[in-house]
């Protein structure tokens, strides 16, 4: 009796291991590009070395347009590596604390009115910024860009693919409150 129940458990484990193995093989084979995306960022970033210091471009150096231009992952990597623009995170503070782009400032769209005075005191309108949210579906980055434009910030770019794209591409992320929420 005992022997047959152990055999039954072994069979269940064996079949399920087969299903998982087969699923992994098929899933990975059909989504090679997605799974084998870039594992290493093109820059190295250490969270232990203190805060990032951004050296923003001046207005004349940055692209100016009414509808903010899109930036894609390779551009964002360059921007963060060169610290030429400040990333501004439009998601909730909880999402920001769970993970954000290195050196990003949390300016949640939901708390925009409350948080904007501190942001405007620290970051001048003449500098360039790029805004992002979770993904292309969240829409918060566009909302944030629009809100900032109304406040006179026109040197903006939008990283629509957002945090999910950054994270899934294996780039380094920061966790916690960062400098903006302390």
């Amino acid at each position: 009796m005992m022997k047959s129940s152990w055999a039954g458990c072994g069979r269940i484990l064996l079949v399920n291991a087969g299903i998982v193995l087969l699923s992994t093989c098929i899933g990975v084979l059909l989504n090679r590009a997605f799974v084998a995306g870039p594992q290493q960022s093109i820059f190295s970033y250490s969270n232990d070395g203190g805060k990032l210091e951004f050296k923003p471009l001046k207005a004349s150096e940055a692209q100016s347009a009414e509808a903010p231009a899109e930036v894609r992952l390779p551009d964002v990597r360059e921007i963060i590596a060169s610290k030429s623009m400040l990333p501004v995170d439009g998601r909730s503070e909880a999402d920001y604390e769970n993970g954000h782009l290195p050196g990003a400032y949390s300016l949640s769209v939901a708390d925009f009115d409350k948080r904007f005075p501190e942001f405007s005191a620290r970051y001048p309108k003449e500098d360039a910024y790029f805004v992002y949210c979770g993904s292309g579906q969240c829409g918060l980055s566009r909302q944030l860009a629009s809100l900032l434009q109304k406040k006179g910030y026109h040197q903006l770019k939008v990283y629509s693919a957002g945090y999910n794209d950054w994270f899934l591409s294996g780039n380094p992320v920061e966790k916690g409150k960062g400098s903006s929420l302390k």
């Binding site: 039954g8 069979r11 269940i12 064996l14 079949v15 399920n16 299903i19 998982v20 087969l22 699923s23 992994t24 098929i26 899933g27 990975v28 059909l30 989504n31 997605f34 799974v35 995306g37 594992q39 909880a94 769970n98 979770g134 993904s135 579906q137 945090y163 999910n164 994270f167 899934l168 591409s169 294996g170």
Partner: protein, 159 residues
């Protein structure tokens, strides 16, 4: 009382559970990136690589569970896996609600459904359904049951 009724009921339950798993898998198979984004929102995975493997593996595991349940192959083993998966989904959703996350559940590949009472009740219901299939004898209408009965008949007739 019809003695075959329980078997028919078990067959129906197994078939419906299989269809549900097949349906749930298709959207995720077609768009693994959206599914991965749903998984990010749960804030469970720290490693993007692990998350991507889960996002491409889980939908196919669901698909195999679905097809095997519909056909009635490896019923006991597959229902053990579906029960485990549904339990994990349930724990994941309860954990998200507990942490105050208002996120899309990613249950059927639909990006619109937010975790709430409906998704919890539905998952809990299918968990119980899966448990019923796991604890019940394999029904004779399944391919597994059919082959077993045929083999038994052949053995009996040869004796």
């Amino acid at each position: 009382m019809n003695p075959r009724l329980p078997s028919q009921l078990i067959c129906l339950v197994r078939f419906i559970l299989g269809l549900v798993f097949l349906y749930a898998s298709v959207g995720k198979i077609l768009d693994p990136k959206s599914f991965a984004e749903n998984l990010i929102a749960y804030r469970i995975f720290d490693s993007p690589q692990l998350l991507k493997y889960v996002a491409v593996t889980l939908p196919w595991a669901e698909w195999f569970c679905g097809i095997f349940l519909v056909l009635g192959v490896f019923v006991r083993s597959v229902s053990a896996l579906t029960t485990l998966l549904l339990f994990v989904f349930l724990v994941g959703m309860i954990s998200a609600l507990w942490r105050g996350l208002e996120i899309h559940c990613g249950c059927f590949g639909s990006p619109q459904e937010t975790i709430g009472a409906v998704s919890l009740l539905r998952d809990g219901f299918f968990f119980l359904v899966s448990l019923v299939v796991l604890l019940s004898p394999v029904d004779p209408y399944s391919l597994q049951g059919f082959l077993h009965n045929r083999r038994t008949r052949l053995v009996d007739s040869s004796n």
